[in-house]
Structure formats: structure tokens, C-alpha cells
Symmetry: C2
Subunit: 396 residues, 2 copies
């Protein structure tokens, strides 16, 4: 018999998806090049040519039975070793292959990380604004997601609000830096303070609260800044990474979970992931893709277009009078809407062929997200539409 | 805090894995070519060259942003259409793209199929001997796996034993034909009788009991037989397929779930799979691999070696006095051990460098499995060891 809970989920429409569908439908009317579609966070630049070259070389030269053979349950040892070496070199933590589990993107990494440290009925805290898929990730294992209110002046963490929500049933805290949708990069001060509160709470409640750090935007940083590495601040950290954005491979579903070598049961996390996989049908990411990314760990796509687009949009939004925090990375910007009801605001924007996502989707009403992973030409062409929208709907 | 249930799972060792590790260790002593390793069900023949050619062509000619882009939540429409066309042509059921969901192998398909139709606390029935991973698949969603005793004379279904175990809490029945480990192919009579009992029970209990049909060995058939297609016998069937064996791609994690167009909520199954994916981190199989298999649906690897090996082993096992059902397909054979304790039997076999898996692993003590997906030369070379083992340990 059909399971009602999943059937019920079909009734809830994703605002982002609906907006994307609107963009497609509107594109069919006026030409998609004339729809200023800021709805979806899909990379717009190609993977590095080296990735393609590695893939072709593997296909042409490796023995097919070995190349396409089963990964061991804990994923390919050579790939885990390469990732550990990369992370150790880059962030100075003593990772070994024993701490690395290759996953089907960040989604797979988060699904495993959450199941490792959160039991059904326990709570996970995250911070608004947040990626809306965190809710099904957490609820999918029978746990509860609770959302700490945003600190809108800079989209860092409201520590007092956070402190107030920590409780004995808190199993993990889920962060995302650089952040979707705000573009904020957590500062060292933020991460240090977060770690302090977590250590105090872990001691107070008598169990370790894990930090799960979702980092698919780690390589997309602006203005030459470096993003502090969350696991360096807090031992009990599980880092979740995806190559979707850094190598522009979202469809190939490849990422990893890295357990901080100083975390509780550090040597058990990866074997636990192997067990978790058995119950969710995840098993391993595709062997060939694992092998190929292992040779591209120090590469990224040419990500500079995102910074170009951000600067154009940020300047124009400021000029038009928006309150907006300048993103430190990602390909998102999260300005304050020009009326309290951001759903109404984004609905009006559609009249100007602008697809903007209301902040409500991210637990942060009153704001809106623009995903500027699109051609710079289109960003430029969208500016007159944006100005007309603002001047017409919100005259001074 | 670490979740104890997964930590506890680490204490349970897989008999197959331990045996495979023994084979590897023994191989380090005497040369792996001298270990007659019948432990693992890994394809031993290469993928068809066309698969490699398609992959290289896609990498060389397709636009990378599109090629490696996100699949839609319900997986790639062109690929779903190709699979539906293939199944419709081959089995005559009116599949459309709406009934197909691409998955990370059969494991992914089973994980989705089970979650679609089995709620936590409900029961799934399967038939001994059975693939041991069914247990974590079912328990992973909080349901209970119950095992119908085997019908050892032919490894078809003991219908009376099955009937006796059906109850109002039975949500689904999980079959595997051609079967791992027995090599049995369910006959049309078996499937017809099974379907009759399921229809009667569904009516009696007032809810549809789903049939989940796991078919990774569909293309590996011996003696020119055709395997009846389970979904043709029972409307409420979810078919789970993997290309791991047919195209020798186990590491690439690619398969599909096909909902019988006549099943309950047939149009909702695939959208439900999309929702289930959100909670398990499965998302889609790799886009590139989806696209490549869609061009290889009517191909298989050269699978003839498995039949050659089966015949050699079957004849020798008969000659040595084993009671053994001749496999109709797969790359497994499941003879009766020469003593009641098949664990002891397989332990003794190791003295002759034979790696045999006790039937206990498959819910069928007193038997043992040989996975003959190895070189024919090695199969031949193993025969003297098998004879010495039998003559020495079990003299007449």
C-alpha cells in the first residue's frame, strides 16, 4: 500500500521550482533570453578541461572490469587517500584516508553525517537564512530541524538566539559557509564563538554536540578573501563537501564527508557511513567519477564570472536603494525586499520578467535571493528591468 | 553524539566479506591465482565496447555545462523515456517515462521501492535463500523483514509456507529472479500462483500488497530459456533493475525502478521517489552514466562465460555426489553441503583453498554458494581441489 507521508509531500510545491517553471513557461512566450531568471543555483561555467581529459584517458586506457568495478563499501581507497592528502595540505588537520568517505554530492554527505550523529527524535539546529533542503534531510531520518533566527545586518550568527535554543535534545548544529542564500562567509570570530558555545553546551548536557559543516561553495570566494575552515575551530566537526560547484559537475553527484580526526569516534565515522549506506541504497558514488575528481582536487572551473556578476548586481542594488549585505562568496545575493511581504515583492517582479526567490523559502521573510550563476550579459541586460520594477512598484 | 545503532552494526561481520578477506590474505601467501575464490558476486567480463565509445563521444562532443548539469529530481527525461520504450517493446506493458525513475543501481531502486509502499513497523516478506542485504534495506526504513522458508527441491516458492506468513501487516513481498544465491528462475507457474495469493490476500486484508521484484540478473540466463517477467503477472509490481551485471558496471551505480502502469497510484510512484530521494541523499545517479546506458539498453556484455562455468561446476558437483539444483541463470550455484553444518563445511573447504559461502548467510543453512564469475581456467583448476576436499573430508 502506498505510503501516505510521501504522497502528502507531493502536495507541497517548492517555491524555487515553481518559479523556475514560470521562467521556462515565460521563456516559451518571449524567448528565454528575455527572462531574467535568477531562480536556480546551477553552475553556469564548464568543468575544467582537465576533468574531461582525465575521464577520457581513464576510459581509453584503464581495464574496464577494474575501472567500472564495485567500490569497496567505504569507497575507493586511493580516492579517499587523495582527498585526505589534499585537506591535510590545505587546512593542516591530520586527515588520513580513514576519515574520508566519498558521497553522491553534498546531499549524500549530509544524509550520512546526520545519520551518524543524530538519532530519530533529536534536534538539529541551523541558522536562517538556510538551504530549504535541510528540512527533508533532517526529517528524512526522523529528527527535527529547528531554525535560529537570522542576524540580518551581516548574516553572521546571532549567538544569543543560538544559545537560547541549545537544549539537551540538541544533537547537531548544521552550518553552511559560504552561505546559500546570503553569500555570507562566516568569519573566524563567528566560528570561534560558535565553537565556544558548542563546547560549553556539550559539557553542560554531558554529550558531544556535533557540528555539520556544509561547504559546497568553499572555492567561490570574492575579493581575494580566504574562508576560515570550520573544522579547524571545533573538533567534533563533520565536513560535507561537493564538487558540484567547484568543478561544475552537479549532475555527476560527487562529494565527500570528512570527519575531523579529533572528533568523537573519529575512526568509526567512515565505517558507520558504510553501514548507513546499506540502509539508504546510497552505496558509493560512481567509481569512474570518484577516480576522475581525485585527479582534479587542486583545480576549479573558472569561477571568476560569479564575482563579476556579484559586483554588477551589488552596485546596482545599492544604487537603487536596496539594503544588501555584500556577499563574500557563492553565486547568491540576498537583499532586503522593498516591502515586508517578500512573496508579494517577488510576485510583482515577475511583471518585469525578473525571477526572484522570496526569502520565506530560506526561513527569512522580507528578503529575496538572486542566483547570479548566469551569463554576465544577461545580468547587464536585467538591470533596466530591475530599475523599472523598483521605480514603478516602489516610487519614492 | 555518535548514534549507537550504527556503531553496533560495525560489530557484525559479513560472512561474505570475511571470506573474501581470507581469500585475499591467502592469495598473498600462495598467489591469488591459486586461491579458488568463489566468494564474491562481481562481474568478471568487461562492459560492451559500445558503452565506452558512447561515454567518450559524450565527453568529446557534448557541451559540459549541459552534460554534467543537474538531473531533474525525477532523473533525466530522455533516459526515462528510453527505458520505458525498451521495457514496453520487450515485455508488452504500457510503460511511459512517467513510470521510470533512474537509480543508483538496484540498491537505490530497492531503497526507493520499499519506502514507497512500506511504512515503518510494517512487514516485508521474502523467500529463502535470499540476498542478505535485503535485511538492512528493509530495516533501514524501520520495517521488518520476514523470511519464508525455502523450497529446496527446486528453489521455487513454497506457497503454503508463504500463505501462512501473509498477515494484515504485510506491506510488500520482495522477490529476486533469477535468484542470488540459488540461480533459480521463477517459472510462469510460480509467478502466477504467487500473484493469485497476493491478490487474494490484498482483498482479504483490504489493502494492496505490493510485489517488489529485484532483477539484476535478468539477462544472465542459461540454456536459451526466457525468464518470465514478474510485473506481467501482478499489477502492483515495482521492478528494480541494475545494469551492474548486464553491462558489467557495478561501480557506476546505475539502475532503475519501473512502476507497473497498472499499479496503485501508478503516476505517483515516480514523484514519490523524488521526495524519498530528498530525505536519503540519493538524488540522481550520475548524469553522464544515465545518458550512456540509455544508448546501451539493448546490449549486454558477453555473458557466455557464466554459462560455461556453470556447466563445468554443475557436472562436477553432480559427479562428486552433491545434491544440486541446476541454475537457470545468474552466476551462482547453491548445492547442498555434505554435512548439516554448512559453516563447518565451508570452513573445511578453506583447507583446500576453496572459498565457499555458507548458506546460513542467505537464510538457508545446510547449503553453500559458489559465485562463478571468475575465469573459466580457474574454474577448471579448482576441480581437483574440490575433489580432494570431498574425498578427504567426506569419504564414502
Amino acid at each position: 500500500m502506498i505510503v501516505q507521508s510521501y504522497l502528502d509531500m507531493l502536495k507541497v510545491k517548492s517555491a524555487i521550482r515553481e518559479l523556475s517553471e514560470w521562467s521556462t513557461a515565460r521563456g516559451a512566450e518571449i524567448g528565454y533570453e528575455n527572462v531574467f531568471d535568477y531562480s536556480l543555483g546551477n553552475p553556469s561555467v564548464p568543468c575544467p578541461p582537465q576533468f574531461t581529459q582525465v575521464m577520457i584517458r581513464l576510459l581509453q586506457t584503464a581495464e574496464p572490469v577494474a575501472l567500472h568495478g564495485y567500490s569497496p563499501t567505504l569507497t575507493l581507497p586511493s580516492v579517499r587517500q587523495a582527498v585526505a592528502d589534499h585537506l591535510r595540505r590545505r587546512f593542516g588537520l591530520p586527515y588520513t584516508a580513514a576519515h574520508i568517505f566519498m558521497t553522491a554530492g553534498a546531499a549524500g554527505a549530509l544524509a550520512h553525517a546526520l545519520r551518524c550523529v543524530v538519532a530519530p527524535g533529536q534536534e538539529v539546529l541551523t541558522f536562517a537564512p538556510f538551504f530549504p533542503e535541510y528540512k527533508p534531510y533532517v526529517e528524512g531520518l526522523g529528527a527535527v530541524l529547528r531554525v535560529v533566527p537570522p542576524r540580518c545586518q551581516d548574516f553572521q550568527i546571532d549567538l544569543d538566539a543560538f544559545e537560547a535554543m541549545l537544549n539537551p535534545n540538541t544533537a547537531a548544529v548544521l552550518i553552511n559557509t559560504p552561505n546559500n542564500p546570503s553569500g555570507a562567509v562566516y568569519s573566524a570570530d563567528t566560528l570561534r564563538a560558535l565553537a565556544d558555545r558548542l563546547r560549553q553546551a556539550s559539557q553542560r548536557f554531558g554529550h558531544r554536540i556535533f557540528l555539520i559543516s556544509d561547504e559546497p561553495y568553499r572555492e567561490i570566494l570574492f575579493g581575494g578573501i580566504e574562508a576560515p575552515y570550520p573544522a579547524s575551530f571545533y573538533d567534533d566537526t563533520l565536513t560535507c563537501y561537493s564538487f558540484s560547484k567547484s568543478l561544475s559537475l552537479p549532475g555527476e553527484r560527487i562529494g565527500y564527508l570528512a570527519a575531523n580526526p579529533a572528533c568523537e569516534h573519529a575512526e568509526d565515522i567512515v565505517p558507520m557511513c558504510g553501514q548507513i549506506s546499506r540502509g539508504t541504497g546510497h552505496n558509493c558514488p560512481a567509481s569512474l567519477i570518484q577516480l576522475a575528481v581525485a585527479e582534479c582536487l587542486d583545480l576549479t572551473s573558472d569561477l571568476s564570472v560569479y564575482e563579476t556578476n556579484m559586483n554588477i548586481l551589488y552596485d546596482e542594488l545599492c544604487r537603487l536603494g536596496f539594503t544588501v549585505v555584500k556577499p563574500g562568496g557563492t553565486f547568491y545575493i540576498f537583499p532586503k525586499a522593498l516591502e515586508a511581504d517578500s512573496v508579494a515583492f517577488c510576485e510583482k517582479a515577475k511583471r518585469y520578467d525578473l525571477a526572484l526567490v522570496p526569502g520565506d523559502t530560506f526561513g527569512c521573510p522580507g528578503y529575496f535571493r538572486m542566483a547570479y550563476c548566469i551569463d554576465t550579459d544577461k545580468v547587464r541586460r536585467s538591470l533596466p528591468a530591475l530599475e523599472r520594477f523598483v521605480r514603478t512598484e516602489y516610487p519614492l
